[in-house]
């Protein structure tokens, strides 16, 4: 009798699994996504440690012979001024993470409300928003970022603002599309029929239903922003010396690639691994949050 009860009870507890725990279960089974998540956690730890301790100061010149390769004292070698590359990579991780996450927070803050309102109210608001989105898509990203950085000056905050200016459209369009589809659903009509206020419908009913795609989009947005920052820094209009960015470190190393390839290789690998990790995680989240997958 006791065993019978246990057998009967089991599907009930399985059913208790909400949408999110379902997604978490699927994500855990995706090995690449899991490895990526572990790597990213480690990267965050490294960036946090760099706040209080690096092997050497990232800006102290002459701690090793300029251009010297990896050694037990300087694991990743030294750069053109004899600064420790490992210490600079650690600080560079901070920059990359701040830029990557910071832009996506701002992109969410801009894209979600605008997308919700445009998609829900349609009409002229939607026409105006769609027009602006198309205008921004029409101008090359680099041009927008360069003009903004020239006007505002190349600080970390302004780099984030410049990247947001080139990246807010994707999120806005995604949320708008989701809202356009969801607003026709019967439960939205039911909410309206029960007298729910428009803001409640937008943020209490439509937003929770589009969280999955939004999370995936934001996860893919992080590496895109990191890469863009590296690119801007590589061109010299991003993070300014002596603050290290993976992009500017690679640019510095390029001049000496024949005699000291580690100066290019170290930041490039750090950048590539991070971009890959975010993309694998995004892929994993997309699969895990897809409600059609019932594995």
């Amino acid at each position: 009798m006791a065993t019978a009860a246990a057998v009967v009870k089991r599907p009930a507890t399985l059913q208790q699994a909400s949408l999110w725990s379902d997604a978490w279960r699927r994500l855990r089974r995706n090995r690449m996504a899991l490895i990526s998540a572990v790597y990213l956690v480690l990267l965050v730890v490294v960036a946090l440690v760099a706040l209080v301790h690096t092997p050497y100061s990232y800006r102290e010149v002459g701690v090793a012979r300029p251009y010297s390769g990896p050694s037990s004292a300087n694991w990743f070698g030294a750069d053109i001024l004899g600064r420790d590359v490992l210490s600079r990579l650690m600080v560079g991780a901070q920059i990359s993470l701040i830029v990557g996450v910071g832009t996506q927070v701002l992109v969410l803050a801009v894209g979600v409300p605008i997308g919700l309102i445009a998609g829900y109210y349609k009409g002229w608001i939607d026409t105006v928003v769609s027009f602006i989105i198309n205008v921004f898509y029409g101008i090359p990203d680099l041009l927008v970022a360069m003009i903004l950085l020239l006007l505002l000056g190349p600080s970390l905050n302004n780099i984030i603002i410049a990247i947001v200016a080139t990246r807010w459209m994707d999120m806005t369009r995604l949320v708008r599309g989701q809202t356009l589809a969801l607003r026709e659903r019967e439960f939205i009509e039911a909410a309206r029929a029960s007298g729910a206020k428009p803001l409640k419908i937008l943020f209490g009913h439509i937003l929770p239903n589009s969280l999955g795609p939004i999370i995936v989009q934001a996860t893919f947005g992080v590496p895109a922003a990191i890469l863009f920052e590296a690119f801007l820094s590589f061109l010299g209009i991003g993070v300014q010396p002596p603050t290290p960015s993976w992009g500017s470190m690679a640019a510095d190393g390029l001049a000496a690639i024949r005699i000291a390839p580690h100066m290019v290789i170290a930041p490039s690998i750090a950048l590539s691994l991070t971009l890959m990790a975010f993309n694998f995680l995004g892929d994993g989240l997309r699969d895990a949050l897809d409600p059609r997958q019932k594995r």
Partner: protein, 351 residues
């Protein structure tokens, strides 16, 4: 007789489509008295759902209410501001929908959604929560405290519709509009939901407007019935009277098409010949004439108005079943193709 709680007068709702203007609701008028339960029946596309949505001004795009009045407690709902009508929705007039699967938000807990119906109208969180549990019990959801935390997909279809009913009753509305609330449910569950609605109607005095295509549902729950065809009311009256003695050929055909358990085994299922009219180009004269077995010449050209055919019973028909029975042998008619009873086949290809 008491004064009506809801008076709909000459309601007209149109949809502007690429093909032209579709008048989905065309001059509908009716009264609803406090505590009463009326049924609006008709085929798909007859305008019954749009009538219900028009009352709460929830007509989907590209629909527009173009004229008419909906008087509720001395105010015309069609003249209220957006905020005023929002206050009415869910508080004074609530609505429940056809498919409980899709009318509950899949990512929010069921109890929380019932709470929200009250939070929208100024109740505090604590009050709402306590009342939700009470409501879930009232609609006979077992283990209400546990079901409160369940997501909609964890409930059965019947439970979900009960939760929807609880949501509808949350603010003790004086009118509950039920848009085909049992269509998506199993037959046994249908009966339970109808019984629940009948009990609530009796106990709480909530007036019910039941939208359905099922005459059986009307018979079980309602005291009066409005029959809609192609956007118009073609017959209305007390339920027993209409079932006993329908005067509009459309109502008569609808009732005839209900399958009977005691029918002879070899008897064919009776249906109404033809299709519901295209509302982009509604038929001239009486809109039912292309499908009507008893049509006369006049039906092709002149549109009949609702007129009293018996005490409290109105029908919009030039012939009416009384005459069809006497002169056209309606009761013996087996073949009910258009014009079969009257022999009028004007303008058809066979002529």
């Amino acid at each position: 007789m008491a004064t009506p709680i809801l008076q709909v007068r000459d309601l007209r709702t149109q949809f502007l489509t690429d093909g032209g203007i579709v008048t989905a609701v065309d001059g509908v008028s009716f009264d609803l008295y406090p505590g009463e339960s009326i049924g609006i029946v008709g085929e798909s596309g007859s305008g019954k759902s749009i009538t219900a949505l028009s009352i709460l001004r929830l007509v989907p795009d590209p629909g527009r209410i173009v004229s008419g009045r909906v008087m509720f407690r001395d105010q015309d709902l069609l003249q209220l501001t957006g905020e005023e009508i929002r206050e009415i929705r869910g508080r004074d007039i609530a609505m429940i929908f056809q498919d409980p699967q899709s009318s509950l938000n899949p990512v929010l807990r069921t109890g929380f959604q019932v709470d929200e119906a009250m939070l929208a109208h100024g109740k505090s969180k604590g009050e709402a929560r306590a009342r939700t549990i009470e409501l879930l019990k009232k609609v006979r959801i077992p283990a209400a405290e546990n079901r409160y935390k369940d997501f909609p997909h964890q409930l059965s279809g019947g439970m979900r519709q009960r939760a929807m009913v609880a949501m509808g009753l949350a603010n003790a509305p004086s009118i509950l509009i039920a848009d085909e609330p049992t269509t998506a449910l199993d037959v046994t569950v249908q009966a339970q939901i109808l019984e629940l609605l009948a009990d609530l109607n009796r106990e709480l005095g909530t007036a019910i407007v039941m939208i359905t295509h099922n005459m059986g549902v009307v018979a079980g729950l309602c005291s009066r019935v409005l029959v809609m065809y192609a956007g118009e009311i073609v017959e209305q009256g007390p339920v027993e009277q209409i079932f006993e003695n329908p005067q509009h050929p459309y109502t008569w055909s609808l009732l005839r098409s209900i399958p009977r358990v005691d029918a002879l085994r070899h008897e064919r299922l009776r249906s109404i010949e033809g299709l519901a009219p295209d509302l982009l180009r509604p038929p001239s004269g009486c809109r039912f004439h292309p499908r009507c077995p008893f049509r006369i010449e006049k039906c092709y050209t002149d549109e009949p108005r609702l007129q009293e055919v018996a005490p409290d019973q109105l029908a919009a028909c030039w012939v009416t079943m009384e005459r069809a029975r006497k002169e056209m042998g309606a009761d013996e008619l087996v073949d009910i193709r258009p014009g079969a009873g009257s022999g009028v086949h004007k303008g058809e290809l066979s002529d």
